[in-house]
């Protein structure tokens, strides 16, 4: 078991800067998820930790040892690839035992570990099969088994679920979470799916354009996004953004005009001044709150998606902004008709012109 720490990691391919100044500590036994849109550098960062890509600058430490110059095999890591990367000419057993061949493990020990891993992953009956005779989910488990038998300090997962169908994805997600509880190993997991990130992670690292936007526990990122990018990326459907302007300030916050309404919002002192352009953020699930102190926004419905337990109402506000409202499942909304969204000022986020959140950090929600 080991912790992983990254100090000012930089990576460029030619003139293209992929990663810059990445500083991050992954504690022993933690489940960290790197999440971000495609091209944000999350997979590259994982490959750097694995030793498959050299860094252009900075230092990587695993278990306290500097590993920059070490080949992957000596870093005590194991990696699960998006494509599973099973050796097609080897049986399941040989696939799992392959890595141990180079670690000079004796035959009895190899056999014990492979059978134990197969037991954990319910692969015992499939050990003699070739990968092509397995289903996608089984292949995925073999890939995980190949990682387990090497008893690594750190598990690296590169979008391991993206080739599975939706039902299997949920299942495997739970299995990976269980595996983490059982093994207690450090795991680093890359995904572009924020649902996977929210459900699996003990700590999420949001990456964008080769930089870390925010690091934190899933609910912390959901409740206190540091900037517009994180606010928009975490949460599904994404947070609604509405342009607004600061009308005035007092001791506790700012009065902001947006979409034909006004609200007094608590903000960090000194973060805003009168006349500033701001962006109001509000999650779809907080736009149908018909309580006492609500702000009503009028608009016209573009489309309605009915999911049963909820209905997503896509509406265009009279100010011209498109927003999504998560309404109750029985909401009788019809496209083309007028609709009113109800917001509580307690649930509003405010971002300054540079996209940084200006809410007080001690704010508690819900």
């Amino acid at each position: 078991m080991a912790d992983v720490s990254l100090h000012s990691i930089a990576k460029s391919f030619g003139t293209a800067e992929i990663l810059r100044d990445i500083n991050l500590t992954v504690d022993d036994g933690e489940f960290v998820v790197f999440v971000g849109p495609s091209g944000c550098g999350k997979s590259t960062l994982l490959r750097i930790i694995a030793g498959l890509e050299p860094v252009s600058g900075g230092e990587i430490r695993i278990g306290g040892r500097r590993v920059n110059e070490m080949p992957p095999a000596e870093r005590k890591i194991a990696m699960v690839f998006q494509s599973y990367a099973l050796y097609p000419h080897m049986s399941v057993y040989k696939n799992m035992a392959f890595g141990l061949k180079f670690a000079k493990t004796n035959k009895a020990e190899v056999d014990r570990r492979v059978r134990q891993a197969a037991e954990i992953l319910k692969l015992s009956a499939l050990l003699d099969r070739k990968p092509r005779e397995l289903s996608g989910g089984q292949r995925q488990r073999v890939a995980i088994g190949r990682a387990i038998v090497r008893e690594p300090s750190v598990f690296l997962f590169d979008e391991p679920l993206s080739n599975l169908d939706a039902a299997l994805r949920v299942n495997t997600r739970l299995e990976i979470a269980k595996l983490h509880r059982d093994l207690g190993a450090t795991m680093i997991y890359v995904t572009h799916d924020q649902v996977e990130a929210m459900t699996l992670a003990s700590k999420i690292v949001v990456l964008n354009h080769g930089r870390i936007e925010q690091v934190g526990a899933p609910l912390e990122l959901y409740r206190h996004p540091r900037n517009l990018f994180v606010a928009g990326f975490i949460g599904s459907p994404r947070m609604n953004f509405i342009k607004g302007q600061v009308l005035g300030l007092d001791d506790t916050g700012a009065t902001i005009a947006f979409a034909g309404a006004q609200a007094e919002v608590r903000t960090r002192l000194g973060a805003l001044k009168a006349g500033d352009e701001v962006t109001i953020g509000v999650r779809p699930e907080h736009m149908a709150e018909r309580a006492a102190e609500t702000i009503a926004l009028q608009g016209r419905i573009d489309a309605v998606e009915r999911l049963g337990e909820a209905s997503f109402v896509y509406m265009r506000l009279d100010g011209g902004e498109d927003v999504i409202v998560r309404a109750p499942g029985d909401e009788p909304a019809v496209p083309g008709e007028r609709f009113t969204a109800y917001l509580s000022r307690e649930t509003l986020y405010v971002f300054d012109a540079a996209g940084q959140a200006v809410i007080p950090t001690s704010r508690s929600m819900l």
């Binding site: 490959r47 694995a50 030793g51 498959l52 080949p71 992957p72 095999a73 890591i77 194991a78 990696m79 690839f81 998006q82 494509s83 990367a85 099973l86 050796y87 097609p88 000419h89 392959f98 890595g99 061949k101 180079f102 670690a103 092509r132 190949r146 090497r150």
Partner: protein, 319 residues
Amino acid sequence: MSDIAASGVPVESTAQRSRFPVHILVFLAPALVIYTAFSIYPLIDTIRLSLYAGDETGARYFVGLGNFTTLLTDPVWADQFWNALRNNLIFFAIHMVVQNGIGLGLAMLLSLPHLTGGSVYRTLLFLPTMLSVVIIGFIWQLILNPLWGIAETLLQAIGLGSLFGPWLGQESTALLTVSLISVWQFVGIPMMLIYAALINIPDDLLDAATVDGAGPFSVFWFVRLPLILPTLGVVSILTFVANFNAFDLIYAIKGALAGPNFSTDILGTFFYRTFFGYQLQMGSPTMGATVATAMLVIILIGVLIYLFGVQRRLQRHTF
């Protein structure tokens, strides 16, 4: 159904058409006709001809397998035949080892991840394959010419002048030299086929092996090589068929007598002399057909060994 009734097609003819699939015949016919006229018929007629003998008057009479007995036992014919077959086997062995070995090596180098100018090397290495064999033969004769070829000068320039010899003119070296010229010309083909197979292996697989602790040699031996075995099988059988049908390069360099003293004679040149005649030797269509049939049998045996002995064990892998 109402559409058919409306268009006036009798129901009976519809039923007949579905019983005999005429359209299949129509689509097969062009290929079948051309293939039969230019490949199957000549092949069968050659085999038929090998069972006949002719005399000076041009009359032909059936001799059964008599021609084959002559070919394999008559001292004049048998010596030449076994010599050509032995030379052909050596020719093939050199191609298998040198051409396919170097082809594999070049393909490995071309598939290096950070190779610059890869496409330039690829084109240059493949270029000789596209040149005419006559030109290749002529160029190498000029290069290796002991009187004014540049090979000796080049070797002298690097201090190896003493190693130079009239390689194409010596019985001991002529076959090897001709083989290596052929290797030089055709090394691009195994290289391209193996290269295509190598780049078909997903990078993830090689990365996975690296993470598993395999060094570059182990990655090659345990992962890449097993995955390109089917291609190596195809390359081998292509080499085998091409080598046992070879003729042109030796004819271009050494003529149909495949000198010196038949040391570069292979089945192709032997067949040419037998069928068409050369210098003092009279051509004999029937003995020529016999040699051609013998070549067919030899190639057939090789291909069958490959098909039933090798290919069945090879597994094509999908990724």
